[in-house]
């Protein structure tokens, strides 16, 4: 058998400097720790693994489900709980979960009011969630899917895979989850999610590359003062390599294309989300956030809400992304609604 010829390469063989036992079980092992840490919030459904809100299914309420490859924590598993996700479907590291995992999640959380799937726009995620949605609909469950594609680093076109879903995902999950908690129907939840997608734009950069456990070496190589601009969150190389420059330059290089893309205009009220890719310390993140606030003020934008922290990460990658969401009062109210998850709580 083939498995005998290719014993799984363990941590030592790979020379991995990570706090893990075995690259083959790293996702499950981490999920067990998550479940142990938050018994009040969530439970772990094993094989295929799905993280489910502790009190799911919530009868009569739209269930919001997201998922994707692991390694972006707290996205999505850290956002399971009242006011946000009913279930998160974690795939292998940086690899979409399979349709049966998504289908299992839908089965766990469907409370009879329909299920909203929030899917980051990557071919793998789109195809696997699509199949799951078909299977669930065949079971008589009403399923709506909203694709998140906010990354301005990727040129959009009908002839390409389209933009990636990055930072906006957290915002979409929060706002759709709040709408569901307030009793909105599945069509309305999907509309709101779609509105957030339409009004959000992101751009990221990396100072270092992540190392995927089963690969054992960094996903790309950078020079001592080189950064990847337009980085994704899967260790895929970015759009261009440039010298690092000052924090001021970094922030402007990220914000300029974001501001132009929607476009954001003088007088707009926005949510500014300053995200660490994982390995960037809080000191640098707040420093960049402060600059971003100043640059937005220069453009006549009013920052009404903020989110600062490592919420959309790429393992231990150092770097950051900036996401801007154009706000209106309804979105502000939904953003402010109570949320109780491992990673976001108010």
């Amino acid at each position: 058998m083939c498995s005998a010829n290719t014993p799984f390469r363990g941590k030592e063989a790979l020379g991995l400097k990570k706090i893990i036992n075995d690259p083959a079980t790293v996702v499950q092992d981490a999920l067990r720790g998550l479940a142990a840490a938050h018994p009040d919030l969530l439970r772990l459904r094993a094989d295929p693994p799905v993280v489910v809100r502790a009190d799911a299914p919530v009868r009569g309420q739209v269930a919001v489900v997201s998922g994707g490859g692991s390694g972006h924590e707290p996205l999505h598993t850290g956002f399971v709980g009242p006011g946000m996700l009913d279930a998160a479907v974690p795939g292998p590291v940086f690899t979409s979960p399979t349709p049966d995992a998504v289908q299992a999640a839908i089965g766990e959380v469907d409370g009879g009011a329909g299920v909203l799937l929030l899917v980051k726009n990557y071919t793998g995620d789109v195809l696997n969630f699509e199949t799951a949605a078909e299977l669930a609909e065949a079971d008589g469950i009403e399923v709506r899917t909203v694709l998140v594609d906010d990354d301005v680093a990727v040129r959009d076109s009908t002839h390409t895979a389209g933009r990636r879903g990055v930072g906006a995902t957290v915002l979409v999950e929060k706002i759709a989850g709040a709408a569901a908690a307030r009793g909105a129907d599945v069509r309305r939840c999907a509309e709101l999610a779609q509105r957030v997608v339409a009004q959000a734009r992101s751009m990221g950069m990396a100072l270092t590359a992540p190392t995927v456990p089963h690969v054992g070496e960094p996903s790309f190589e950078l020079g001592a003062q080189e950064v990847e601009i337009g980085i994704g969150i899967h260790g895929e190389p970015g759009r261009s390599r440039e010298p690092l420059g000052s924090a001021e330059e970094v922030v402007r290089r990220l914000l300029d294309p974001v501001l132009q893309d929607l476009p954001f205009e003088t007088g707009d009220e926005v949510l500014l989300y300053t995200n660490s890719m994982g390995g960037t310390p809080q000191m640098e993140l707040y420093l960049a956030h402060g600059i971003a606030e100043r640059v937005l003020a220069e453009h006549g934008l009013t920052v009404r809400r903020r989110l600062v922290g490592p919420f959309t990460t790429s393992l231990e990658m150092q770097g950051m992304s900036l996401t801007l969401l154009k706000l209106d009062q309804e979105l502000v109210d939904l953003w402010d609604s109570p949320v109780h998850t491992a990673a976001l709580r108010w």
């Binding site: 083939c2 690899t95 399979t98 793998g124 995927v212």
Partner: protein
Amino acid sequence: MSCTADDVVAALRAGADVVAAHRGELVEMDREIGDADHGENMDRGFRAVMAKLDTSSPDTPAAALKLAATVLISSVGGASGPLYGTALLRAASAAGDAAELDGPAVAALLQSGLDGVVARGHAELGDKTMVDVLVPAAEAAGNAAEGGQDSAGVLRSAAQAAQEAAENTRPLVARKGRASYLGERSAGHVDPGARSTALLLGAFAESAGVRS
């Protein structure tokens, strides 16, 4: 010679072996223009197919193909899982309940598989994906079948075309899949899915050749 259920199972085993042997290479290729998991994904999927075949013995070519399709879909994840899964599902449908597949039948299977991938992933020729291998492979298979080749011969022609076609993805700029995010920087690398398709077709052809 025609192709029986056992021949399909043997081909799948050969596919599993070639994927396992090239796991690291496919990861490395995907690391260069993707997210470094294609070898891992394919290996996980084909191991799962092998595990399933330990406990079930499909009795038609279609049953064997469908088994592989569903296991791949439920174990690979990523873009390649649903795409290879759909290809095999469509091939299974095309095979119907035939106990043996002759040359034209194998060529028809390949064409159905290709159609499934295109229906699912919307990639066109030149987008730098597995489609760039499947199109010439299916065409070569069709020609070989028309030329009277048996199933092994058809697969051999497909595999030969595939080998070259995979290499031809190197200069292309990706327009689909993860490599497309790199834009111009994706040129200069062979597409990992194109490579795995060529490897699989090669393994299928060799398996058929040995058994025929």
